[in-house]
Subunit: 418 residues, 2 copies
């Protein structure tokens, strides 16, 4: 059997499981989630041992520090992971919600009802906790899933798969509802991406390389999160004390995250006051500024920016800084260089805020708050399956409801259309 | 300039226009639609002349009858087209609707607000009225569009493009908001399908060949409508008089439409009563029945079905007929052979209706009414841009709101996240 056929066989089994999942109540799916959390608690030692073996292998393979950090399941991360499953179980059930419902003049009752997508594929890199997060969100939303983690976490994932495979069937969920693909063959990714009709949605989670590889070959629908190149624009009408606090925090309080600000835009009319003050605060936080010619007038000792600094995702203690002469210039800069993830304006001017929120074409547009709040938990969606920088289906932080589609349920009393 | 570069240049101009469209009020976009309808009325003769030339060419090229019918703009079709524009103008504005809005414990106000997608590409075949329908729906929803019709309707489309190009700028809409691609080079389709980042959504409307060609090459998001293979299931608990009326109408009152029933499933317990009666009515309507072995017991003179009849989109006076021994068998048959467009159950049994609507995985699921009602107008969505058989973004009939995405607008008072 070819790898493609193997993946399709898994997806066919997942479809069968998905057909069963739609017949289960939300309470039954939640009970399975609590059972999974309990099983994870009970078998922590087994998983930690497998993770230690993965880590030892990774060290022998000379993996880089950040990769090792992502691969490592600490006691704290493990506890967060199991608590995360319980938190997902406690969330509102997205399945079955009536999104619209009305009667038509001919007496037909039309209902647009949220239902699971069916079979969801998740492809991720070294973080083994994604295995559990993704499984929990898919089960919550009534979907079967195929999970394909990175080869570095293969032993940890296999241990987690075994726990899932025991806990779920005991709670009445078919074993094929959550299947962990443990082959390390990279062709499995392409096989998933081309399983049209078998997989309803594919979500790649990881670096840009992975996402581009999946997207290039995909014929199944993909929702992706490419990059977070977020901007903070300090408007002429800004409260400058607030602007300082937000501009500093959005960069320095979580420097390597996708919702971190990478570029600070400052209106010319406040630049002379604002820039020296914020530069001093950022210097304390060890943030390097890369300034355009106008900003350099106020910060003559800063590094000049180059063209490649606009639109760059530094994920580091580096801030591109640009002085703009108008709100229009700020909006145009953002619509040119932003990754359409999250952009913020700081202003007390209502008209400026309205123009910014209307004209900036990004998934999240913040007014007088930090880009760092772009996050499923912060938006009250519960656990997050990812943050979409696409515009179709879901945009911005995605929760369990984003793993659903809808169907139209039309109820009549014999109506025909001639 | 290569064709790919030409298409991208059009898309870049469309993006600029889209940036302007988001700043226009709904009233201003509606005024432009009314102006377009008036201009179409005023210049009907010019369009009809161009259409006559397209038709003459098509006849010289020996085009088939159905293709000629689709290409022909009759006076009635023309009037429907201009009235359609006014009807779209009169619809509720989908843009700006708050889809969710709430305050978070930290005082942040979160709003999920419907906004235009940006640049929409529509690829269609010979029906020139699609040019106007699609332009109107895109403008209504605040989107710029690139419209690529079939080569058969090139003169008609050019005439329509000229009217659009005059009417819209006079009403304050940038000319690039609606661009009609008049090259007959088929490579334009591929160029559109691969214009990642330039086109936000591509909708192919036409035959399966077109849709498959677009999907195979597409790297931009595509929403497609492949096929309508719809089922009517007559349950053990059906009101048989109602079942007869629906089963006959769903096939015979519009035989070549995507929401036409292609397969009639009948529960064994009512087959002896129902099948001879419905067969007599269908015979009057010249419908050929292709029956499975169990159905042949009750209709011994009917044609035996072959395997290829299950899941076939006949678009003709042909009905596949199968007797099932249970509701489960009916659901399994539908989930195996349906194109997930629209499937109906006829029953007075509430539990059967609930199981059917829950377990049948189709965009529209009808209870005691005809599959033929699966339609944007019938669902109260106004004019329809298509019927999606996909599950992502939009499913089933798509109106102007389906040409939108959303953005998260988050308003704070200086909150930071540390």
């Amino acid at each position: 059997m070819s790898l493609q056929d193997e993946i399709i066989a898994l997806a066919v089994a997942a479809r069968q499981a998905a057909r069963h999942l739609v017949t289960m109540t939300g309470a039954a799916r939640n009970a399975a989630l609590y059972a999974l959390a309990d099983a994870l608690d009970a078998q922590r030692a087994v998983v930690m041992q497998a993770n230690a073996e993965d880590l030892a292998q990774a060290q022998r393979d000379g993996l880089a520090g950040p990769m090792l950090a992502r691969l490592t399941l600490t006691e704290k991360k493990y506890a967060q992971m199991t608590e995360g499953v319980r938190a997902v179980a406690a969330q509102t059930d997205p399945v079955g919600e009536t999104l619209a419902g009305y009667n038509r003049p001919n007496g037909l009752r039309i209902e647009k009802r949220r239902v699971p997508l069916g079979v969801v594929g998740i492809i991720f890199e070294s973080r083994p906790n994604v295995t559990i997060d993704a499984a929990a969100l898919c089960l919550k939303s009534g979907n079967a899933c195929l999970l394909r983690g990175g080869k570095e976490s293969i032993r940890t994932n296999a241990a987690l798969a075994q726990i899932i495979g025991q806990a779920l069937p005991q709670a009445g969920v078919p074993a094929a509802a959550v299947q962990v693909i443990t082959t390390t063959d990279r062709a499995a990714v392409t096989a998933m991406a081309t399983a049209t009709g078998y997989i309803d949605l594919l979500i790649p989670r990881g670096g840009e390389g992975l996402i581009r590889a999946v997207t290039a070959s995909a014929t199944v629908p993909v929702i992706k999160h490419y990059r977070g190149v977020c901007h903070v624009y300090v408007d002429a009408g800004a409260d400058l004390a607030m602007a300082e606090r937000i501009a500093v925090s959005a960069k320095a309080d979580g420097v390597s995250l996708c919702n971190t600000a990478e570029c600070l835009l400052v209106h010319e009319s406040v630049a002379a006051t604002f820039l020296p003050r914020v530069a001093a605060l950022l210097a304390e936080r060890k943030v390097e500024l890369r300034c355009d010619a106008r900003a350099l007038k106020y910060l003559p000792t800063a590094t000049p920016a180059t063209d490649s600094d606009w639109g760059a995702e530094f994920l580091d203690y580096i801030y591109a800084v640009k002085v703009v002469t108008s709100l229009t210039e700020a909006i145009t800069h953002i619509n040119t260089y932003s990754s359409q993830h999250t952009d913020a304006i700081i202003t007390q001017d209502l008209a400026a805020a309205e123009r910014f929120t209307t004209e900036v074409d990004s998934a999240s547009v913040m007014v007088n708050t930090s880009t760092r709040f772009a996050d499923g938990q912060e938006y009250g969606l519960g656990a997050e399956i990812g943050i979409s920088t696409d515009k179709l289906h879901s945009r911005g932080p995605m929760g369990a409801a984003d793993l659903c589609t809808y169907k139209w349920v039309v109820t009549g009393s014999g109506q025909i259309r001639v």
